[in-house]
Every structure is written in structure tokens, then in C-alpha cells.
């Protein structure tokens, strides 16, 4: 099976749950295990939250794109924004680093994406936005219908 989806939505905190619902629904065609769904939707939640909290920093008119494709071997997901961008991607991906420590942020967002997915690649430039590409490899025990 090969399939693709693309969606865009505004940078509202309410859309974090919406993005999780959409990616879960898209993966249902694989008859996935709860564990697979849980890991992917956590990674998507972290990426979309970063876009809402950091890229657009309180702006509610920003546009966030969620794209996903799947085949028998893997699920690929992109979360893209056109917000402020990240000057130092390596620093932003350092576990427990946060630019907003006073907001009870943990700095674990990228760490969780890296832990729950098999590949995470971040492309970003100040002023032009951020693209997070994530890959989840599918194993026999993860799905019934690949």
C-alpha cells in the first residue's frame, strides 16, 4: 500500500490535538499497534507544538503544514512552518535545552521525536521557517496490513 496526505492549519494550540487525530486516522489503514500510533502521534505533537510555541510564538495566523506518506516499509512525516526559524539547529536539538525555561518547557521535544521515530531531520533558517522530516520504519509486529 502506498498513500499520501497533506494538510495545513493555523498556528493555534488547539490544532496540536487536531494534528494528532489526523496522523492517527491516516495510520489506521495499516491496522497499527497502539504502541506505533502512540509513538508517532507523540512525535507529531512535539513538532507541531514547536511550530506553535516557537516558530510563530503566540501568533495565531501562522500556517503549519502536516504531510505524511506511507508504504510497506515506512511512514514519512513532515511538519513545516514559515515562522522565525532556528539559528542553531544542533543547539535546539540538545536534550533539555529550551529557549523558554520560565514557561515550564522541558526542552525534550526533539529528544522525544528522536526516541520515538527512526529518523529526524531538521532544516531551518532564521526568518524562513523550519521543516522537520521524520521517518518511522514499519516492522511486522507494528502493523497487520502492510
Amino acid at each position: 500500500m502506498n498513500n499520501q496526505m497533506e494538510l495545513s492549519f493555523l498556528s493555534l494550540a488547539e490544532n496540536e490535538a487536531f494534528a494528532r487525530m489526523v496522523i492517527s486516522a491516516f495510520l489506521m489503514q495499516l491496522s497499527p499497534t497502539m504502541s506505533l500510533i502512540s509513538e508517532v502521534r507523540t512525535a507529531v505533537s512535539e513538532a507541531v507544538t514547536n511550530a506553535v510555541v516557537h516558530a510563530y510564538a503566540g501568533r495565531t495566523d501562522g500556517r503549519i503544514f502536516l504531510r505524511a506518506s506511507l508504504d510497506a516499509q515506512k511512514v514519512e512525516i513532515e511538519v513545516e512552518d514559515f515562522g522565525c526559524g532556528i539559528a542553531d539547529v544542533a543547539k535546539a536539538m540538545t536534550p533539555f535545552y529550551t529557549s523558554q525555561p520560565d514557561q515550564e518547557r522541558t526542552g525534550m521535544g526533539f529528544s522525544l521525536m528522536l526516541s520515538f521515530m527512526d529518523g529526524v531531520h531538521v532544516t531551518s533558517a532564521p526568518g524562513s521557517g523550519t521543516l522537520v522530516k521524520m521517518t518511522k520504519l514499519l516492522h511486522e509486529e507494528d502493523v497487520d496490513a502492510v
Partner: protein, 108 residues
């Protein structure tokens, strides 16, 4: 308002739904209001009805741990599903927040 129950110096908070950046702020305010009662020394977070939590929820829990630590109290958790336990371990929360067995928090 989040459902809760006081039992002496213990406050049990029954969390529910999805805890993310969108919902964590409101939850933080509600729990802090409940912790306005200075007698409370033990905060128990019941995750039985939590369907999802991400790092924003972790931040909210660490914040309440700090509140309780400042008054010499403690935070414990119960009712966690395996995915939540995994998140707890990855975040290192298991080192600062004890896990209670279901029903244990109801003991006097």
C-alpha cells in the same frame, strides 16, 4: 475544574483526557489553586483516564514537583499506562516521582 479529593495532608488529582501544551496551562493553574491549601504535603496524580501526554505535560508535572518540594512535600503518580510509563522514564520523572499501585492512594 479538574476533579480532586483531599484526604488529610494528601491531595489526589484525577487527571483526564489529553495533556499537551494546549491543556497543560489550564491544568497548571487549577492544580496550583488546589495547592493553595498549605496543609497539603502529598500530591498524588492519578493518570488512569489520561489518553495522551507529551513533553508539555512533563513540564507541568515537574513544575508541580517544584511547588511541593519547596514546602517539603512529595508528588506521586498512579494509574499510568505503559506508554506514559515510558515517557516518565525517558524524562527521568521516575527518579523524582514515586509510582503508587492503583488504590493505594485511597488508604488512610
Amino acid at each position: 475544574m479538574v476533579r480532586s479529593r483531599k484526604n488529610g495532608d494528601q491531595l489526589i488529582v484525577y487527571l483526564s483526557g489529553e495533556i499537551d501544551h494546549c491543556t497543560a496551562d489550564k491544568l497548571r493553574g487549577e492544580i496550583e489553586t488546589l495547592l493553595g491549601d498549605a496543609r497539603i504535603r502529598r500530591l498524588v496524580l492519578d493518570f488512569e483516564n489520561v489518553g495522551f501526554m507529551d513533553s508539555s505535560g512533563v513540564g507541568m508535572i515537574i513544575g508541580r514537583y517544584k511547588t511541593m518540594r519547596e514546602r517539603g512535600g512529595s508528588v506521586s503518580a498512579c494509574g499510568m499506562k505503559p506508554t506514559l510509563e515510558k515517557l516518565f522514564r525517558m524524562a527521568g520523572l521516575h527518579r523524582i516521582i514515586a509510582q503508587e499501585e492503583p488504590g493505594r492512594q485511597d488508604e488512610a
